[in-house]
Amino acid sequence: MIDNLDACRVIERNRNDAIVVTTMGAGNPRFGWPIVSRDETMDVPVGGAMGKASSFALGLALAQPGRNVLILDGDGSLVMNLGTLTTISERAPANLYHFVFDNGCYAVTGGQPIPADGKVSFKEMASGAGYSATYEFDNLEDLASGIGEILQKQGPVLVNLKITPEIENTPIGQRPRPTRNTYAAVQELRQALSE
């Protein structure tokens, strides 16, 4: 299994000038992407949209074909919006890289298992939907050595990461708040891309 923050560090080291869209655990301000990102303007946290962060990333990838777009998705988010796999495959943006932080549960609501945890394979689902390439990693070393080559592949690519769950049981009001919300991030990125 891979630590959530370690996975973010490896992805950040390889992002170059990519836009990074995050949701749920991957974007957690205590153990996720905001801690490691060195280019906040190119980050968009998309929380509370019932799994639509990958759909937002698809739109960005189609609008900005000269720039890679990385989506750091959750497994619970992906099962809420499974049709995204065929929608992404249909337009097949070459610059879209879909990382799934697969911890098997809804960590932000206390760790309840997602449907079909232990049975579902997002790698196989994406492959069956028609993604250009699919991968799965359950240890950090293999991810670190493979990611450079993966980000050279033609998208859409799905990379399923087996992540150690970071269960949150504290009341929502007592959890650290994100430093940037979706509104601010969207406005800043839109401005930056127009310059």
Partner: protein, 168 residues
């Protein structure tokens, strides 16, 4: 006396989209708008983004808009019911100037509206505080420009209800 045009043709809609420099149509086909498909595919100025489920449309459109494009959504009212959280989170909450062309299933100007899809549509749109226009014939098509201008001016989603099936 000359008869008023009482049919809505796809070219009337497409002409409005071109006039407003729309770049992408994010859509899921329905019985009100399905006849647009061939003309959408044939139009080199418009890119079609088909979705698997309507709730994706607002999120994809948000990404396109942030990336500098000018999309519209084209779905049925039944899909609007399914799309509620996307309209909230990635339409209203981020000030997306998105025009949503909505097939108005069940709407009938001349009789009793029996289809619950039509009965609830305007109530739901009112609940979100989204303004809307009704398009039933070619003569109404310029209301799409009104909607486009309003969405851009106020940085908010605006709806256009397509209240009839297209003529050939």
């Amino acid at each position: 006396m000359e008869q008023a045009e009482t049919v809505l043709h796809p070219h009337a809609i497409l002409s409005e989209l071109r006039k407003n420099d729309v770049t992408h149509v994010v859509w899921l086909p329905d019985s009100e708008t399905n006849f647009m498909y061939e003309q959408l595919m044939a139009d080199p100025t418009l890119e079609l983004v088909p979705v698997s489920r309507e709730g994706e449309t607002m999120a994809i459109a948000a990404g396109l808009w942030v990336g500098g494009k000018k999309p519209v959504a084209l779905i049925q009212n039944t899909g609007i019911f399914e799309s509620g959280d996307s309209i909230r989170g990635l339409g209203l909450d981020v000030d997306q100037p998105l025009v949503m062309l909505i097939g108005y299933r069940g709407w009938d100007r001349h009789g009793i509206v029996r289809d619950s899809a039509a009965k609830f549509t305007e109530h739901i749109i009112h609940a979100w505080g989204i303004n809307y226009y009704l398009v039933e014939t070619d003569d109404d098509a310029d209301r799409i420009s009104l909607a486009m201008n309003e969405a851009q001016r106020d940085s908010k989603p605006v709806a256009v209800l397509v209240g009839t099936e297209f003529g050939a």
